[in-house]
Symmetry: C2
Subunit: 348 residues, 2 copies
DNA sequence: ATAACCAAAGTGATCGTTAACATCACTCGG
DNA sequence: CCGAGTGATGTTAACGATCACTTTGGTTAT
């Protein structure tokens, strides 16, 4: 019925069931110290009134927090989007609520500004720290309320093991694998179109994808070309990649993510360079569209949803250490070979 | 400072400033009935303690709600993602918080289950009602708490004007425009690969994209082919579109969204049909990747972020009618002609 | 001079819930 | 038959804020 009548409170239930409000609370929270008959009476009253506990009051009264705030800068990328989905699913299955707050790099955020996004001080928070605004937010929260924070981002296995507040995949290793694959195909060297966070050191983080790439080249005794820095958007990538496309000696490009790879593919096509004949392109993340481009993109699959779930579990552990600390156990990154990679055309 | 000390409350501020907690409340809420000197003392104390009002306590005490819950089934599509961003921006600028809850069609949701997602009864809610789970949630909430709900989805101008809780774009009109464009290019008729909500009537909603398409064909006196139903994923679309690709008499396909269009493009390529020579393909939504596929997709641009903003404004009006009712005033859908559309090859 | 008025600040109730403690009726061992 | 222990409830006090009153002085009108 569409009546905007006020929601029933624990007192209404208590009155109807003929018990004290505290007894209702016990029933709702599954305390064992309630007689079966009383419990039934209460449950009946709850059903009749359609009573649902008020989350706000519950946490106000010192109960569990049961709410996570996710801070993210760019939810249009597949990675953050999938991780958010993972967090939400994990959270919902435990009846936590998820708040989201988008960090707009356009706003000039003071540090206080970032903290102010949390609905309450000390609010449990997960940060998508794969880009500059995210890294910055991570740092701010790390200084302010470290115990209630978890960051998701690209880190090496050692970093992940050392930091009790990090969750992520080993991007360096994945990049190494992709680079290795291209070298094995016979490419002299591999060039790299890098996402912003990979070009420098942000918030103390290292350039993991770029690092794995250059390390592999070095280990193979190859020349390590300068990484080409790109922005996050298709347009920026398209512009940034032009020199690599124009340079006929470039036979393989490892791209920092699939958006950059698609822009590279487009640029190659417009410049008349055949893919993978003239040029091999490998992306990163296995964004859904990659399987349906023409040619279909070779890329590295990442199980972001698992990472999101892992982040949530870790957060629960950190907020309340009676919860088990999850071991980082999502699937390893996996190279998916499709149609944009192949051996270089032999120079005859 | 990494001290996990408890957050300051209004009482702590009051004690430090040497006033009552109510006076602090007045300062915080900008009441004019406070002496300048007192206000300064309080502000100083606030700054010193780093005090931030507790949202939970605030809304518990009967203050404004200042929180929206967004219900969405699929946040991986560009439309919902962009709309969510619009909502979040609008909400944050007014200091509201945004909760998100993903409707997983895999879970069998009872109606009560949907209501239970709201953190409190009567919680202001925005529903992304462009797909089946969304439509269903819309219906459930419409029956339960209509006054605190707004739905975003595809509706005709008349529907939008008639329903005080609807926000959306005129998909039918946009589809008509795209169809008209293809006919004007010289195509005999236009086929339609339809998103799930367009194939039937869901929750009382009509099949707007399909409807605009068929109406235009009818008005032009053309044969109206059966619309081909597809699922939301690339894989489903790829499979569903095969008969259209195989049929050489098909020269133009209007796709229900850009994902379907990309899958169609891929299928056409694999079948050796040239685009746009043999086949014109038009998508829907102007998802960012569409400008960078090869060939680049012709599509219909939609300003989802504005729609999201509009939904939030409308919600504010409905929750508290002293807020102005926003007029639906986002930009009209706009056809973006790129490379997948052209005149049919003349049959000589 | 006194009532009336007003701005500024304080007091106490309230929101819905949980935590801590108090109470009460039994049962049981000695 | 008494005191201790226990299981099932009730009572009271937070939690952090707002709201509706009340109090306190100082002006102003009569």
């Amino acid at each position: 019925m569409a009546q905007p009548k006020k929601a029933a409170s624990i007192w209404d239930v208590a009155r109807l069931a003929g018990v004290s409000h505290q007894t209702v609370s016990r029933v709702v929270n599954g305390s064992p110290r309630v007689a079966a008959a009383t419990r039934d009476k209460v449950l009946e009253a709850i059903a009749e009134l359609g009573y649902r506990p008020n989350r706000l009051a519950r946490s106000l009264a010192g109960g569990a927090i049961e709410s996570v705030t996710v801070l993210a800068a760019d939810t249009s990328l597949y990675g953050p989007e999938a991780a958010l989905r993972g967090i939400e699913k994990a959270a919902r299955s435990l009846d936590w609520s998820v708040q989201i707050s988008v960090l707009d790099p356009a706003d000039t955020h003071s540090d206080a500004d970032i903290v102010a996004r949390l609905p309450r001080a000390g609010e449990p928070t997960i940060i998508m720290a794969h880009d500059e605004p995210g890294m910055r937010a991570k740092q701010v929260l790390l200084d302010t309320q470290p115990q209630a924070m978890v960051a998701i981002g690209p880190y090496t296995a050692e970093e992940l093991a050392a930091s009790p507040w990090l969750v992520g995949m080993d991007d360096g290793k994945a990049a190494a694998e992709a680079t290795r694959y291209l070298l094995d195909l016979g490419h002299e060297t591999v060039h790299h179109l890098a996402i912003p966070t990979s070009t420098g050191t942000f918030g103390g983080g290292k350039a993991h994808r770029a690092e794995g790439w250059s390390r592999t080249l070095r280990e193979a005794g190859r020349e390590v070309p300068e990484a080409v820095p790109s922005g996050w958007t298709f347009a920026e990538a398209f512009k940034a990649v032009q020199p690599l496309i124009a340079d006929r000696s470039v036979t393989a490009i490892l791209c920092g993510n699939d958006h950059l790879a698609l822009a590279t593919l487009r640029a190659a096509h417009l410049a008349g360079r055949e893919v993978p004949g003239d040029l091999s392109i490998v992306g990163f993340d296995n964004t859904p569209f990659t399987a349906y481009t023409t040619p279909a993109l070779t890329t590295v699959n990442q199980d972001f949803e698992s990472v999101g779930r892992g982040a949530f579990e870790l957060l629960r552990h950190r907020v309340d250490s009676t919860n088990p600390r999850p071991k980082p156990s999502w699937p390893e990154p996996e190279l998916i070979v499709r149609e944009t990679s192949g051996p270089p055309r032999s120079r005859s």
